[in-house]
Symmetry: C2
Subunit: 202 residues, 2 copies
Amino acid sequence: MADDVDFYFSFGSPPGYFASTRIDALAAAYGRGVRWRPVDLREVFAEEGLKPTIAYPRKGAYHVRDWARTARLHGIPFAGRPEVAVSPSRVVAVVFYRLADTLGAEAARNFGRDAFHAFFVDHRGVGEPSVLAELVSRVGGDREAVAGVVGAPAHTRRLEAESRAAAERGVFGSPYVIVDDEPFWGFDRFDQLERWLATGGW
Amino acid sequence: MADDVDFYFSFGSPPGYFASTRIDALAAAYGRGVRWRPVDLREVFAEEGLKPTIAYPRKGAYHVRDWARTARLHGIPFAGRPEVAVSPSRVVAVVFYRLADTLGAEAARNFGRDAFHAFFVDHRGVGEPSVLAELVSRVGGDREAVAGVVGAPAHTRRLEAESRAAAERGVFGSPYVIVDDEPFWGFDRFDQLERWLATGGW
């Protein structure tokens, strides 16, 4: 049985969301499982000298258009990136890992899918405790526990350790998929990713 | 007759080179011509807060690998990006526009193809006067005139005007293709570019 592929992403990233709608079926078609690994890229961005895409004037404006075009092309529901003062990416990732530890990878993944959809399709405030509690309970989690998870150092440290480990593997953006040792950055590398899974490289 | 497409690129850009090997046949298949428009992106990069890809530690290392993998996948000859202290991109672009003005677009384009190949396949110093003179004479240009072109303010201003006009259209990277008013950044958008040419959009 071939190794699972590692799927690194940020919950605030449109191409990370696009990738999340395809990665499991794509990997399964080639007998692979997927490890979902949400990361907080702020520290890597600071080290690299990168800003979030939308912070660049021309590049940001281009991507707003490109994301919408890409979503239409692939038939992915997408209402555009919500304009939020603070990305919910980090809070959602902390809850994701808590669910993974308590209910398992499948529940965490279902929560992740719901959170992506709530943010990028319904434009809900998925970083707010009430919305998180609803999303958590939808996958069988304890909605009362959400308040104790968000901002709790133990859970935050888990996200930081995951993000640090990702950075050490070279991750600098979202989505970033590693198949065995081969890295693929961006939803626009999913064609190469599929070919790699099918052929083992070229 | 549909309008020509605008092909903006830098002579120092690997994906710009990849694009240069495909753009004319791709456009011609849909009844379109191509305006080759080399640009100097330094000013735009400064305005955007961007660095050349290879200047980012993780992102740069990833792209070195990605470029080689992409070239192999598409069967494009590529020996990797030469390590040079100063990119020849600007000097080559100045000569390109000089040839366009004196010998016409086709000669300039052939010179551009030769310069890309000399740099990215043969790793020659295409910014050096002797190499430029050889490349210029190969397309029927005056090799003695090269010295008077490189660094001459009149020719440099032409490149600066082209680069400024490109920036005003939103160009921030290489390659950047505009079809009618639709922009496509990156060799990895050539699949969308082709579909757009075929269908007029989606």
